[in-house]
Symmetry: C2
Subunit: 281 residues, 2 copies
């Protein structure tokens, strides 16, 4: 079903990695999930920027962005549509234990997957969403990064099996709204667009960043702020974003009905050229 049609390690075809890789032992790495349509890798510059920033913050060997960008571009051009997962770890452990010696050479694993089967109604009619029981720990040093310590998301994703539920919203251990398990969340209150800050936990999604920029250009008031469950209850519109789906309106949240509203529709319209495989205006 959704097995990759190709796997490359540091640019060479290969399906295995060292059993000493620190990614395997500690989740000591970062990843990007890149939507490729029309032979192009969408938002590739933003993906590589975030990955580079992650390597810098974690002290992982810097990638050659030009080389990696070229690899992704070539793989994207070979098929009409694909999802490319780019995984970068600190590399093989030089010694046992958490300590980094500085001699580690990053491991880059590139996996190309078929584009998932999707229901076009999810973007138009909206998706059903629930709230996760499990929470997200807070750590400013990891916040914003798409790192490989994802057990919290794995456990949250195990909370439901109903295929009609698109995602679960997650709160931090101190009660702040953060995101879905695999999406960022936005809400509209008093004609203003709000999304949770990602400075204590959560991922600074490339689509989140794109939507924030599109909203600003469109003259919509936007704010990244600390939001709680009570704020979400006041929201007139709620939508989810990620690199693959773009913007999905939420039509039901824990049984409460919501309608895709004008701000959501306007942003979907602004985003449409990008999702169709072209550049943004």
């Amino acid at each position: 079903m959704s097995e990759p049609d190709g796997i490359w390690e540091n640019g060479r075809a290969g399906t295995q990695v060292s059993a000493l890789d620190r990614g395997l032992h500690y989740g000591d790495g970062l990843f990007e999930t890149i939507a490729c349509t029309g032979g192009h890798a969408r938002l590739l510059t933003l993906h590589l920027q975030r990955l580079g920033e992650g390597c810098r913050r974690l002290g992982i060997e810097a990638l050659d962005g030009t080389e990696v960008g070229r690899e992704i571009a070539v793989l994207a051009a070979q098929v009409p549509r694909a999802v490319i997962k780019l995984l970068v770890t600190r590399g093989s452990a030089v010694a046992r234990g958490y300590a980094v010696t500085g001699a580690e050479r990053a491991t880059r694993v590139t996996l190309r997957y078929p584009w998932p089967v999707e229901d076009p109604q999810l973007a138009s009619r909206g998706v059903r969403v629930r709230t996760a029981t499990s929470c997200l720990g807070e750590n400013p040093l990891l916040a914003g990064l798409k790192h490989c310590n994802r057990l919290e998301q794995v456990l949250a994703r195990r909370e439901w099996t109903d295929a009609s539920i698109a995602d679960s919203l997650m709160y931090s251990s101190s009660g702040a709204l953060v995101s879905g398990t695999m999406t960022n969340v936005f809400m509209v209150r008093n004609s203003r667009l709000e999304t949770p800050r990602v400075d204590r936990c959560g991922v600074a999604g490339v689509m989140r960043r794109t939507v924030l920029r599109l909203a600003t250009v469109a003259g919509i008031a936007v704010e990244e702020c600390t939001l709680h469950a009570a704020d979400l209850e006041q929201a007139k519109e709620v939508f989810l974003t990620n690199a693959l789906i773009g913007i999905h309106p939420v039509r039901e949240l824990d049984g409460r009905r919501l309608a895709p509203g004008p701000v959501t529709r306007r942003l979907q319209q602004e985003l449409a050229p990008l999702l169709a495989g072209g550049p943004l205006a």
Copy 2:
């Protein structure tokens, strides 16, 4: 220096794992670090118990404890001393994304390392310890487990390079004392032995558990409680534990001098037969 002298995957010699392993992608796994002395794997039952409990809590396929125990025992018997790391992941991803299908088969990687070069003075004279700047996120669903989401420890370990510092004490995001990066911590106040609870974060170490039991048997009042920096300042004795080191007194904490005290010495004495390779009384 400390490279493994052998690696086995699911019981067969092998140095690589699948690039689709969920351990690599999400840190979706657990591990045990087992000290082997005199041909025997110390506290093996406790290690396998904790691993089994971790698999149950994360929903990872249960191991055959008898088979794994036999593997470890055989590997321990082949050399006078060794450190065996047992790593168990949820296995290869059946599909892209966090969702677990239930069809995943656990991956077991067993690595045998040479015993580290150690300074015998650390157990007698004590170790120097600092306080980490970075904190630990809180998540009750992961607390106590020795899971593979260890970026927080990796980052904390990057804070110092001075080889005379044995470990850093870490606090949770809400300010509670938790542990060292690779040790549990105990303190003595008013002749009472205290150690942080591990129900919001931290690892329930097998040596921690052993020391708690030894203290109880020895008639020392013990408590697992919520402790803060102010409590640590009042401590008369502080010591660190893990499966390899046993008990190391702290002789210096952020520049403050401490002396190994009577409770620490008594517990070291009780633990000595185990560290020498024999059973506990």
